[in-house]
């Protein structure tokens, strides 16, 4: 039986509360992991481990969060993501909502793409 959206969201929330030491009510769908919830780079790995355990899934490197993309000159030019990079995101990360970001793909705004909703979308696609 597929998991209900509520059940998925509750488990995602628990993983984020534990990984980021934030309060339950801070974990709103639109909250950004870095900007609103204070996630640092190691926290992203912690979140991956906790989601794998909570949902009994495998999350390959680079599937939920980008991996080393930003160090490739083909993908970043003058502080902006190239069209090739955006294509990579579209193909490999359908859980991301790029509609706003692609208008001004500033590297410094990448972390804004990763919200609680993003994680929910990813996990939902993975478990059901």
């Amino acid at each position: 039986m597929p998991m209900s959206e509520e059940e998925i969201f509750d488990k995602v929330k628990k993983a984020l509360v534990e990984a980021l030491s934030v309060d339950d009510d801070e974990v709103a769908p639109e909250a950004t992991l870095t900007g609103d919830l204070g996630a640092e780079s190691i926290d992203y790995l912690d979140i991956v481990f906790r989601l794998e355990k909570a949902f009994d899934i495998k999350i390959p490197r680079g599937e939920l969060f980008p991996d080393n993309l930003l160090n490739d000159p083909q993908y970043v030019q003058d502080g902006r993501l190239t069209e090739a990079a955006l294509d990579q995101f579209r193909q490999r990360m359908p859980h991301l909502d790029l509609s706003e970001f692609e208008k001004d793909p500033d590297v410094n705004k990448i972390t804004d793409l990763f919200t609680v909703q993003t994680i929910f979308n990813y996990v939902k696609g993975k478990v059901n």
């Binding site: 534990e18 790995l45 912690d46 355990k53």
Partner: protein, 158 residues
């Protein structure tokens, strides 16, 4: 001299679990100031002791090829104090380990009674912090750390 806060391992199951003990003694100078009238083992040093137990477990799981650095203390709770004469035990288990990092959790005991819970993350720094360069030599696992665990590795899984 290394900053070592475990005395010895009592159990070592490669890739899974490690248990180490530390005898707290009034001969240790830090207890003279923490505090003179009432010496207690600082919780920060118990976190360090747990991190060393867990860090060696994580390092050995990759045959000491990775530079394993404590990256995050996700949880550290202690319900009781530890004073000179007590024995502290750190029981660490690997939750998850990948090429980039490891997650470890466990408990801390005082004279065989559980008094604390710890969760932490270790980073394999050569696989992370993209772009940063570190010395070739593995400065994390030097002789003294390896000697602590050697008796358990020579004869199989201990």
């Amino acid at each position: 001299m290394r900053w070592i806060w475990i005395d010895r391992f009592t159990e070592f199951k490669p890739g899974r679990k490690a248990v180490a003990t530390k005898n707290v003694s009034l001969a240790e100078e830090h207890l003279h100031d923490h505090w003179e009238a009432f010496p207690i083992q600082p919780a920060s040093l118990m976190i360090e002791g747990f991190a060393q137990t867990a860090g060696i477990l994580v390092g050995q799981a990759r045959d000491f090829k990775e530079k394993v650095i404590l990256a995050k203390v996700a949880r550290a709770e202690f319900d009781d104090i530890v004073v000179p004469g007590d024995q502290v035990t750190y029981q660490a288990e690997i939750n998850a380990i990948t090429e980039q990092a490891a997650s470890v959790k466990g408990i801390v005991l005082k004279n065989n009674q559980p008094i604390g819970r710890v969760e932490m993350m270790f980073s394999h720094i050569d696989q992370n912090l993209a772009g940063a360069k570190f010395p070739e030599e593995n400065f994390v696992f030097t002789g003294q750390f390896e000697r602590l665990v050697a008796p358990f590795l020579e004869g199989g899984d201990g």
